[in-house]
């Protein structure tokens, strides 16, 4: 098994080649404005020794913070037409009602609420008002809206109104990209609708980004399928990721934690990932990031996504340093470190300059930071250590000491001893842990269907068997399969004991 993992971050594009479970080569290149050339650059560095010429590459796995950054930074978002089927209910809480106003202003292309939807027991709530859907679609066309999010009451139980409305809209706005909320899962109209709206807002960006990824891979001469990593540590083939980019929102953080687990061989540990601007602290359980329990907000929007439970603090290799009074971060020079840092001829004192002055790092020109005395450097490291200790203490759930894996380009800021931590582990290629996590991303299988005349437990077993078979068919090693999600919902309106079961399993990619 040979796979390339790429992490396209805000500062660097990292790439690794993994062969038979070992990191063969890891490289870093600056992320480029156009994305494509940054990826191409890192692939060329990766293949500089001729590695990529010999033998087949089984897949290129790309993890990116593109989608989440677009929402957080309110950039590259598409105007969305929101179509909700469910009038006259819920009128006082229209689509976008709980969005931050600035984001709603950017994304809200128009809101249409028409009669339709189902009851919990499968009866119609109201017949679908097809004439109103057609009128809405005509207005969307006149307004030039090409990205449409459709939601309907109880669509996870009966998606037929959403699907029919999507057909009608496609008939009038043929070039529209349409997201149906039932494709994104769960009960909870507003949260499911929000996920659909965010997905629709990312339609153009997802298409452009994934096309750019494909072009970069093509230009580099690698003939391998492209996969995009998802929030849960698995991969989706490029076509699906293009259609449902919201599933790849938080993959950056997941990848670096999975990479840390892989490189250290530990499956239960704290992970601290120190980047250029921020440090993320999370916890590995059985090799996966512990998930946040509560409703997850993305850029201020409430969703039902499952996301790693992370604490981010403003500390990194590019953090601004002020000596008197002592302050580290949260401002950072970010990707301009190699220009603006004092050791590189710039004028902004950073944590990296301090590390160069004290001999921890061998970068830039040490002479340029010779004026920093040992005591000042010690104080800066002590302040960074204090920030790290506080973050770890907040994220730790066990009473006993646990190991801490330090990864990321700024891992030099992590002290050797931390209260509550049994040992601090630095790993080879730790600065590319996120790309490693992408390369080893798992394969999933899902089953979501209605079972009749079975007990609930038999139905769940049957669903799990189907999901397992699908994961194996997609390349997973059967011995490593684990259930990561299991949900069932009784369907009182259907004859017999009918239950809708959704099971999602994941497994490592089978060797060979």
């Amino acid at each position: 098994m040979r796979r390339i993992g790429i992490d396209v971050g805000g500062t660097n594009t990292d790439a690794v080649l993994i062969e038979q479970g070992k990191v063969v080569r890891a490289v870093k290149a600056p992320t480029s404005e156009d994305v494509t050339s940054g990826i191409l650059d890192s692939l060329q560095r990766l293949g500089a020794t001729g590695l990529l010429k010999s033998g087949r590459i089984d897949g290129v796995m790309i993890g990116t913070t593109h989608f989440i950054n677009a929402v957080v930074q309110r950039r590259h978002l598409t105007k969305v037409a929101a179509l909700r089927l469910g009038m006259p209910a819920s009128a006082s809480l229209p689509p976008f009602c709980d969005w931050p106003e600035d984001l709603a202003q950017l994304v809200r292309g128009g809101v249409w609420m028409v009669e339709g939807g189902h009851e919990y027991d499968g009866r119609l709530f109201m017949p679908l008002d097809e004439a109103a859907v057609v009128r809405a679609a005509q207005e969307m066309r006149s307004a030039g809206l090409k990205s449409v999010a459709i939601s309907s009451i109880f669509s996870p139980l009966d998606p037929s109104h959403e699907k029919r409305a999507a057909e009608l809209v496609a008939g009038i706005v043929p070039e529209a990209s349409i997201t149906c909320s039932s494709d994104l899962g769960r009960i909870g109209l507003l949260e499911r609708e929000n996920a659909g709206l965010l997905n629709a807002a990312l339609a153009d960006l997802a298409r452009d980004a994934i096309t750019a990824f494909e072009q970069a891979i093509g230009d580099s001469g690698i003939a391998a399928p492209l996969f995009i990593t998802q929030n849960d540590g698995t991969v989706a083939e490029a076509g699906q990721a293009r259609r449902l980019p919201v599933y790849s929102f938080a993959s950056g953080a997941t990848n670096s934690m999975r990479g840390a687990a892989y490189l250290s061989g530990l499956s239960d540990a704290m992970v601290i990932d120190v980047g250029g601007t921020t440090t993320d602290v999370g916890q590995l359980r059985n090799g996966f990031p512990r998930e946040a329990n509560s409703v997850v907000k993305v850029g201020g929007v409430r969703t039902l996504f499952r996301m790693p439970d992370l604490l981010s603090i403003g500390l990194g290799g590019g953090s601004h340093v002020v000596l008197d009074p002592l302050a580290v971060g949260p401002l950072s020079v970010g990707y301009r470190l190699l220009k603006d840092g004092i050791a590189f001829g710039g004028s902004q004192l950073t944590t990296t300059d301090v590390a160069v002055a004290s001999g921890v790092l061998d970068l830039g020109d040490r002479g340029k930071v010779a004026h920093l005395d040992g005591e000042s450097c010690r104080k800066v490291f002590a302040e960074a250590a204090r920030m790290v200790e506080e973050a770890i203490d907040r994220m730790k759930t066990e009473a006993g000491d646990v190991p801490l894996i330090a990864v990321g380009g700024g891992a030099f800021l992590i002290p050797d001893r931390v209260p509550g931590v049994s040992r601090v582990i630095h790993v080879e290629h730790g600065d590319c842990a996120n790309a490693v996590g992408a390369a080893i991303a798992q394969v999933s299988g899902e089953c979501d269907q209605i079972f009749k005349d079975m007990t609930r437990l038999d139905a769940i077993d049957a669903a799990r068997t189907i999901a397992n078979d699908r994961a194996v068919a997609a390349g997973a090693d059967r011995k490593t399969l684990a259930t990561i999600d299991s949900e069932d919902m009784p369907l009182a309106y259907l004859p017999g004991n009918s239950v809708r079961v959704r099971v999602r399993v994941v497994g490592d990619v089978a060797a060979g």
Binding site: A89, S92, R123, L189, S294, T397, A492
Partner: protein, 360 residues
């Protein structure tokens, strides 16, 4: 009569606290909170008063949504529909309500009366009839007190309006309105039997809106300070920590307008070798550790997110969640023999004698 202004920040706290007092049911108050934010943005305001300030002959409208919490997450109740249930009751009885109050402080119904009050410009009484959430209409202090169980109104947004003119008992009220509610799609805006000021003073469970606000404020402040929000709750309420664990299975079945089932938890920390199961009928009713009942209604069993301290509902609890289970003391009215008949474990079909976690 002294009226206190309720700020939108009070309502934010009320939403968090009412959800905790919901003991798993009653629905997440987030949606009524969103409605209140919109109403306050539009200039509406609501005021709070003490039951003691009601005149004995005043009439009070008791507001509640009925139905399965799950349905409430899909069919979002409009504020005008709730107000309509109240005005329909006024049309039927000829009363003009001096104030409105909550039937159940727990869950979304702890906030919903404010939605009607904002439109109808009436104050809210700082009392309710459950002190928590319960699945059935006869599980109230009004029923324990033997107050008149009629009339009732039930409204559906599609223009369905029902008046239940008379029923002989609270159980009949529950059965008849439940049928209406199920026909509507397991959600209905209702106005419960009106109360006189004297009845509210005698049988109301007092100070519960303020209590929910205080619990919510404690959690929100602890979150802001990054302190332990569960410790913050136990710091202001005489509660008891029962269990910490992780959800490993949730079995649900929707029957007769209720969500019934069992959640199973594996222990963490001090409970590593103990399994907790919690049986629910919308609300958490009985909690068992290794098969032995350790907490039961009317004690309040609150399942909280171990990180945020916010409540976890029976309709949203899911595999893998880390939760902390605490108990809060029940309203005194439910501890009498008649109170236990209405809301003790046998009222939910468990052959158990009530034993409070607070009695040992």
């Amino acid at each position: 009569m002294s009226l206190r202004d309720i700020t939108i920040d009070d309502i934010e706290s009320l939403a968090v606290g009412a959800w905790i007092l919901g003991t798993g049911g009653g629905g997440n108050p987030y949606l009524p909170l969103l409605n209140m934010r919109a109403l306050y943005r539009d200039g509406h305001r609501v005021q709070l008063m003490d039951a003691a300030d009601l005149g004995d002959e005043d009439r009070v409208g008791v507001v509640a949504n009925m139905g399965a919490p799950l349905v409430g997450q899909e069919r979002l109740t409009d504020s005008l529909t709730l107000a309509r249930a109240v005005s329909l009751m006024e049309e039927h009885t000829g009363y003009r309500f001096a104030a409105l109050m909550s039937m159940e402080i727990g869950g979304a119904n702890g906030v919903r009366p404010l939605m009607a009050a904002a439109h109808l410009k009436r104050p809210i009484v700082d009392s309710d009839t459950m002190g928590r959430a319960y699945p059935e209409a006869q599980m109230t202090s009004a029923a324990v007190g033997g107050l008149t169980p009629w009339p009732l109104t039930a409204v559906d947004v599609r223009g369905l309006e029902s008046v239940v003119g008379k029923v002989p008992t609270w159980r009949w009220a529950e059965r008849v309105v439940r049928k209406i509610c199920v026909e509507y799609g397991s959600v209905a805006a209702t106005c419960q039997p009106p109360r006189t000021g004297a009845e509210v003073k005698q049988w109301g469970i007092h100070g519960t809106t303020t209590k929910a606000m205080a619990i919510g404020r404690a959690v929100r402040e602890a979150q802001r300070r990054h302190d332990d929000p569960i410790a913050a709750i136990l710091g202001i309420e005489p509660g008891k920590l029962l269990y910490k664990g992780k959800v490993v299975d949730v079995a649900r079945r929707a029957t007769e307008g209720f969500l019934r089932g069992v959640a199973r938890l594996d222990g963490l920390d001090d409970w590593r070798d103990a399994t907790m199961t919690i049986n629910f009928q919308n609300e958490w009713i009985v909690a068992f550790i290794d098969g032995k009942p350790i907490a039961m209604s009317p004690d309040l069993i609150c399942v909280l997110d171990s990180g945020s301290g916010e409540a976890v509902g029976s309709e949203t609890i899911r595999y893998g969640q880390r939760v902390t289970v605490i108990a809060l003391p029940p309203p005194a009215v439910f501890l009498s023999p008649s109170g236990l008949d209405h809301v003790g474990p046998r009222a939910f079909g468990y052959d158990l004698d009530f034993r409070s976690v607070f009695s040992s």
